[in-house]
């Protein structure tokens, strides 16, 4: 077995080393433009892309080379069990992937850790591990796609979407998920690694792995199908709801949210004022024609976790840049404080925490440490989930400006509009005088506190405009009150302190039929919403809630939608039972399949049908037999012997 | 050590006669014409097979048939030897064979421009020459 491992390793060794070297060169060159550890979306995407593509292409190519008729015979016809052959090949593959895709990163990290004062922590090392695990999973998926006895096996590539997952958790959890996935894909590829590659094992337990592997592709196909049978045909004949809706203006009744969003802010305000019964409605209407509108920041304030993988890092959580003094204050997850680094001389110039600046890290008090990964705003403010601090780099001072009550957390970072500093939490919106906010050395009191009109955190947008007597704040959300029911509210904040919600409107008009709008739920209520919600895969769909929020029990769905979903699940389960009726697998296992396809719903049923083959599936419905059944259960008609046989 | 005699025969593939028959015939002629002396040692099965580039079993079959015909004999531990000539066939069998061979000869020379007397004279000459070697 070791010889086979060595042979396979030698085969691609040069290629792996070359890729590794190219990688290292690319890293070395790119650090001229941006230091290695500074996060950047393109960098993260590039790393992910190269790792996944590299892994899957290597899996596909190396396995395709082995699968050629004579080469496969050479590989498997030897006194070595299929299990050992598989292990030997896969170990070689993993080692090669490590060298090509993970080692460069690891080498760079180690180099920086040893020879510079850069903040290199566990999360960076975990990243190298994560890259390796990701590449390994992609590799196994490629191996499976080639070796699978059914053509649909190629669809397993859709599994890759889970690898680019954005799990909201710390690095250790990420690695755990990666490892679980690696184990799954390892056994998935193993399940099709057999001497006779055309043997279909639908009746064996391991076929469940294939079912699970094909399900994401089926779901994708189902989800893309509306473009073929709904969106495209309607657009072609000009009947698409989005196009055919009546134009939106200030006096439109009800209206469609999609158009509301695209209208000018003043039109939006005037539209909403239709529903206002306030005294000053008409005056506000006039003023809104000339008013200026500013949106509050839409930056991502979702919590980040300690030792979160390097891939998940964002510029806003990474460091405070001091361009004048060529310094960067990098946040250390290990220490919970900011470490000042002179970019030119690579010297440490100091540290700061919640209470102020200091020089040594010997006895950092708990009060100094940030207990979470803070958000860096405008290179001047540090925002945690409940507090906001101002940082004065010249005078080396840190001052806490404002802390939210216990039950609240910030949903947006601080915005500066109309001489005000505005903070928004999950419950309220806080107005401060901008000058006070910038210069205060101690905690401030808010000028105005607006209770948010709706209690969820998914505001599409919040915009502010200044009027004569105060401000108009417009809150709008795709899930205003109810899931998937958009709406907007207008709040009038007067300088004298009076705060009133003067208008709200819910857009009840649905432009898409329920079946289309609720498709993600109906087609796969449990998998798409539970597992995908947890793993938060890279692909999302327009009518899904924002990433990771709202599991299906948290939403208020129309009853008939729930019925559709349940119906589909049941039908899938029943049809699975029918398809497997005469299968020789033990009864308990048949029920496992039925249960799995109940959970997976329609995508699972489609995956089962593609595993069986369309013709066989139809056959199973009719006659309970497979075509070309090899075992003696089926009686085959005897062929008359040829006459001339002598 | 007994010197091994050479068997200078060749076999042809694509001939109507099977290979082992070609070997049998070939060796018989070699013995009959005196190229291989009586009592001399023949190459082993393997050696002749390598010489002719054919399956050793085919050679073994040929040797077996020649041994059954009495032309060769196998001496334990020493090898295959050409046997001293002795007649193994009965008188009737010999006559039958003579008749068959004559028939073949006559078939072949029938169309040539030789008179029976010329043919007989020629044959007599040839046979006499064989006797002297």
């Amino acid at each position: 077995m070791y010889d086979l491992f060595l042979s396979e390793f030698k085969r691609y060794r040069t290629l792996a080393v070359v890729v590794c070297v190219i990688h290292c060169i690319v890293w070395a060159v790119s650090t001229k433009f941006m230091p290695f550890v500074v996060p950047h979306p393109f960098k993260m995407m590039g790393i992910t892309f190269i790792t996944l593509i590299g892994g899957v292409v290597f899996g596909l190519a190396s396995t395709a080379l082995h699968k050629r008729k004579n080469h496969w015979t050479y590989l498997v016809h030897r006194p070595l069990s299929a299990r050992k052959i598989y292990l030997a090949l896969m170990s070689a593959g993993l080692l090669l992937l490590f060298i090509a895709l993970s080692l460069p990163f690891l080498a760079a990290i180690i180099f920086l850790d040893l020879f510079s004062n850069n903040v290199i922590e566990l999360r960076h090392y975990l990243m190298a591990l994560h890259l390796f695990l990701m590449a390994g999973c992609a590799y196994f998926i490629g191996v499976y796609a080639i070796l699978s006895p059914i053509k649909a096996g190629l669809l397993a590539i859709a599994l890759m979407q889970y690898l680019a997952h954005a799990v909201k958790a710390n690095g250790a959890f990420d690695i755990l998920v990666d490892s679980a996935f690696l184990l799954f894909t390892f056994y998935l590829a193993r399940s099709v690694f057999q001497v006779n590659l055309s043997l279909q094992n639908i009746d064996k337990p391991k076929a469940l792995l294939s079912l699970i592997a094909l399900q994401p592709a089926m779901l994708l196909i189902l989800m893309s199908a509306p473009s073929l049978y709904y969106h495209l045909p309607l657009k072609l004949i000009g009947q698409h709801p989005q196009n055919s809706a009546v134009d939106f203006n200030a006096t439109t009744e009800n209206g469609i949210y999609f158009q509301f969003r695209r209208a000018e802010p003043k039109t939006q305000t005037q539209f909403l004022l239709q529903y206002s019964e306030h005294d000053e409605t008409r005056s506000l209407n006039r003023q809104s024609r000339l008013a200026e509108f500013k949106s509050l920041s839409q930056a991502d304030t979702e919590p980040h976790f300690s030792q979160q993988l390097f891939l998940k890092e964002r510029k806003e959580r990474f460091a405070l840049n001091d361009v004048e003094r060529e310094a960067q204050w990098i946040f250390s997850h290990d220490l919970g404080i900011f470490v000042g680094l002179n970019m030119k001389s690579d010297e440490i110039i100091g540290y700061f925490g919640r209470e102020g600046f200091f020089d040594k890290t010997d006895n950092v008090s708990a009060a100094q440490k940030f207990n979470e990964i803070p958000l860096i705003v405008d290179m001047r403010f540090i925002q945690t989930s409940r507090s906001i601090y101002g940082v004065d780099l010249i005078n080396k001072q840190v001052s806490r400006k404002f802390t939210l009550p216990d039950t609240e957390f910030y949903t947006k970072n601080v915005s500066f509009v109309f001489d005000r500093a505005i903070l928004m939490s999950n419950k309220a919106t806080y107005f401060f005088d901008a000058m006070d906010f910038n210069h205060a050395r101690k905690a401030l009191q808010a000028e105005h506190v607006i209770d948010n009109p709706i209690p969820n955190t998914l505001y599409d947008d919040v915009s502010v405009s200044e009027v004569f007597n105060g401000f108009l704040v417009q809150y709008r959300s795709y899930h205003f009150g109810r899931y998937e029911t958009p709406g907007a509210a207008l709040v009038y904040v007067q300088h004298n302190g009076k705060i009133e919600t003067i208008a709200t409107h819910t857009f009840e008009t649905k432009i898409k039929p329920d079946f289309i709008a609720y498709q993600p739920f109906i087609l796969s209520p449990i998998v798409m919403n539970l597992i995908d919600g947890t793993l938060n895969k890279a692909i999302t769909f327009a009518s899904e809630p924002a990433k990771g929020q709202f599991y299906f029990w948290q939403r208020s769905l129309p009853q008939h939608v729930i019925v559709y979903a349940f119906l589909l699940m049941s039908v899938s389960a029943l049809l699975t039972l029918r398809l497997l009726k005469r299968s020789p697998m033990p009864v308990q296992f048949k029920w496992v399949w039925v249960g799995v396809n109940f959970v997976l719903s329609l995508p699972g049923l489609l995956a089962l049908i593609s595993l069986l083959g369309w013709r066989n599936s139809v056959n199973r419905f009719r006659t309970n037999q497979d075509l070309n059944l090899a075992n003696s259960q089926a009686k085959l008609p005897m062929h008359a012997k040829e006459q001339r046989h002598v | 050590m007994t010197k091994t005699s050479a068997i200078a025969i060749q076999i042809v593939t694509g001939d109507a006669r099977p290979i082992y028959r070609q070997i049998v015939d070939g060796i018989r002629i070699e013995i009959a014409t005196g190229n291989i002396q009586h009592g001399s040692k023949l190459p082993s099965v393997r050696a002749l097979a390598i010489q002719l580039t054919i399956n050793a079993n085919t050679v073994a079959k040929a040797y077996a048939e020649l041994t059954a015909q009495g032309l060769l004999e196998s001496r334990k531990g020493l090898g295959i030897f050409v046997a001293e000539p002795k007649q193994m066939l009965s008188r009737d069998e010999q006559e039958k064979r003579l008749q068959e061979a004559s028939q073949r000869f006559i078939n072949d020379v029938m169309y040539l421009d030789f008179s029976p007397e010329e043919l007989t004279a020629y044959l007599l000459n040839e046979l006499q020459q064989l006797q002297t070697t």
Partner: protein, 303 residues
Amino acid sequence: MTDYIIETQALTKRFGAKTALNQCELNIPRGGIHAFIGANGAGKSTLFRILLGLEQQTSGSCKILGHDCQALTPELRGRIGYVNEEHTLPLWMNASEVTQMQRNLYPNWRQDIYDSVIGHFDVQPNQKVAQLSRGERAGLNLSIALAQAPDVLILDEPTLGLDVVAKQAFLEALMYTETDINSTIIYCSHQMEEIERVAENLIIMESGEVKYMATPEDFCQRINYWICDLEADLSSIANISKVLSAKYIEGQCHIITVDQDIEEFKSFLEKHGAGDPIIAPINLEKAISSVLSKNHRSPTKVD
């Protein structure tokens, strides 16, 4: 425990509508060199793939070394050698590395056999396999296969594409290596010259069935090539089961029969008005090709 190294019973394999093997019955005894002959598409490759467990038959049984072909253990695989015309070997390794790998893999490895076989070929230990010529690679492959000391060695057109020298070296190495192991050799080839030299037993396959199994000379004796004058409708003669082919060449009727009693057929021909039917000699190649082309088209009248 049977004495048959390969046994198949009613072995059938269908690929969709196409039948590759049709109730194939085969029993190959232990020892000797058995030659497989058949046109392309006769089912030979399918048979070998099923024998090695790489495909599963549609119905029927197939056994090698007494065990079901679908359940070959690694240990059994170690006793079955397989060589085909591609002579697949890892191109990126050199000869000694490849040999070392095989040596570690096969418990019955015979280095003496390897040394004596490789001696027929010009292969240096540190030559990369990719740099070897086809003939040298074939030699290396054969050396490895024989050194495994297999109970049965299957060779599927191993000399295809080899030049004269390489082919000669290959055949010599195969036939004359002194081994005390009584391997059974299954040799598959299209080249009659090779077959004649090498085969002790012929197995002729056609349309997925084993049509004949006999020694070359026995087989030839069963085929008779008749030439006669006959004024008759040949299509009716051609359809008789023991007639392999019947055609006119410049007015004369040439009929090839198999397993047909000479006297019977002679009187049959005379009854149909044939004048002077004689039997012409026939060589192995002609005999085989007439058997194989029984169902193929050929002009019935050549003028």
